[in-house]
């Protein structure tokens, strides 16, 4: 099974990288862009894991390692496999 985990700053935390990209886009004339949040993507290949197990395992990995819960939030999805 392959899962994708998205880690990004919580809304309450200033994201200067995202702000800088937004400003660059505005400078280039993309006025429609009102906000940019930058984050990280992780793709994990899991072996012998059921969907149910993944639902416990992936958030645990995300919380413990991939994201710092003080400043970051995460979302995840199954890309392929059951």
């Amino acid at each position: 099974m392959r899962v994708r985990i998205l880690v990004s700053f919580k809304d309450s935390v200033l994201d200067p990288q995202g702000q800088t990209v937004k400003n660059a886009l505005h400078t280039m004339g993309y006025a429609a862009v009102t906000d940019v949040r930058q984050g990280k993507v992780f793709e994990l290949d899991l072996e012998g894991t059921t969907r149910k197990e993944a639902e416990a395992l992936v958030p645990e990995i995300a919380r413990r390692v991939l994201a710092n819960p003080i400043i970051e939030k995460f979302a995840w999805e199954i890309l392929k496999g059951q």
């Binding site: 200067p16 702000q19 800088t20 400003n23």
Partner: protein
Amino acid sequence: MIDRSLLERHNLTEDEYTLIVELIGKEPNLTELGIFSVMWSEHCGYKSSRVHLKRLPTEGRHVVQGPGENAGVLDIGGGQVIVFKIESHNHPSFIEPYQGAATGVGGILRDIFTMGARPIAVMDSLRFGPPDDPRNRSVMGGVVSGISGYGNAFGVPTVGGEVYFDPCYNLNPLVNVFCLGLADKDKVFYAKAEGAGNKVLYVGAKTGRDGIHGATMASAEFGKDTEHKRPNVQVGDPFKEKLLLEACLEVMDRRLIVGIQDMGAAGLTCSTTEMAAKGGMGIVVDLDKVPQREAGMTPYEILLSESQERMLLVAEPGKVAEVQAIFAKWDLDAPVIGEVVPGGRARITFKGQVVVDIPVDAVVNLCPAYDRPIAAPAPPPPAPALKDLPLPADLGEAFLAVLASPTVADKEWVFRQYDHMVQVNTALLPGADAALLRIKGSKRALAMTLDCNGLYTRLDPRTGARIAVAEACRNLACVGARPIGVTNCLNFGNPEKPEVMGQFEQAVTGLSEACRTFGIPVTGGNVSFYNDTEGLSIHPTPVIGVVGLMEDIGRAVTPGFKAAGDAVVLVGESFEELGGTEYLKTVHGLEAGAPPAIDLEQEKRNQDFLLEAIEARLVRSAHDLSEGGLAVALAESAFHDARKRGCQVDLEGTMRADALLFGESQSRVLVTCRRKDAGRLAKLAASRGVPVRVIGRVGGADLAVTRAGREILRVPVGTAYRAWKDSLPAYFKIRT
């Protein structure tokens, strides 16, 4: 099978191909052709430069190892040696600035620690197109981040360097990295595979398809299709490099290996054949044992990959397990991939088949050397006669313009992105005339500097090259260190153009003359040709790195003014010279004329005098006069003073006011001393045949200069400081 187009893609000529067939006694297969292609490239084979480089002095009392190894080695006494070299990473840095610069740092670091030395400092010579063009800013931002990202994580201080701007570097930035390492004299290792039966170990990162043909890329002009070459650029991993450093130094410290070579340009090919050739041996390698990052790699790809952070070791069979245990401690594998054998051939197998079987000598030592046609370099654009050059209505404005010109302006925006203090040896921060690194456990210090004014070299290659060496040594003298060795990075255009070869030949002549005058050996370096994009060549840019030694770090001198009332003294003579100056370029928009003249003997006398005066504790501050001349030197001495004291300077004579303020006459240093010492200083100078003149005193809030009693410049230090300080950051302001 091997036709003209295949040869062309390998940057080999038909004559070279004929020679290869003759040397190896057969038609090469594709893999073997690939090997010759990289090993006989300009980058690895120095085929256009070798005949000229022979003229450089390479001998000296400190020399342990001259050119020909990964880096030069000099004995500094006390059982210690220094290992140092410059490398260019110009082409990769244009294609992908961050990774190009980062892997440039990674490569030179490996050159140094391959020899058993811990890298203790890095400096960079960077050249970009003017920063008002966003493309140049983007290249510069990427390069600086790349150097910072790699060096900082690895833990080597980037202690300074130079940044120049000129339109000739628009599409061809220069990224030259100078690294200095320190080792115990009895623990220097060489790239030699000796002893039949000894094992060949592969350590570090796995091999991927990155960087295939990087060495041949660095040996061809850039065209519009450069974009497509992006996959060639390697990606650096400073963390892996740090692990390699510690593990390699540990196996060397315990003398567990026979020889070691990093896999830089031309990767596994270069390291295996060079080590065998230097040891006078042959080598067998089983490519199936090479750790691979990607599936389905061909022998050609495995052998020519330039994946970073890899090394090749040779160890006696009985010591292999111990070596592997040390690498395991640092979480690195060290598989045995081959063996040293008698016979002088490289025999490489893949899936049980012999895929390469060639004499190593042919690959490593028999690359043809070309004495390429030489034509006189294109003459410089003539400068208008001085009488036709208008004197600016407001010299104060001109002064602020020169201070704010990107080449002269403060570079803190760059160097504060570099960790310049890690390893706790950095005694002088970036911005001083030279970097100074204390040697722990002693009173001694090492100094280093990088120099080249490419415009001077464009206008007169021989004089420009002489000045580069002279200025580098002068920078060392300004902090109180004596030069002991030189490395260089010779950045030029396409050597197949006779006028470029003409520039090269004259620059080497100038270097050679200057190094002989100063009595300093050239222990190695790098040549980067083909710095042409879309047919335009860069200014010939022979970057000079000089290392100096100081016996008592307590006597180190800094450029900033020290106390109000101190005498301001100008060492050296000023002439009415405006050709090639930053003033002419910035204020009049001219890159023209003859560069300032240089008398090497006088230069040497001036530097020896300065060192003597510093040792006698007569000097409180010293700062070299370079771009922007006396006015900029006065300003910078005020800026480096924490209290930002100004000065009042009174000059004599009838020279044009702009030449007086901004002329770049050579061999000059601005010194301050206590008023009571001015007489002693003058007397010492007179006895050494050095012209000095007390020109003013430190103090006040302004930088003020009079000529024959009439004021020609008065600018508040604060105003000048802001012009100098805010110029570069203004180009890079981020809006959040």
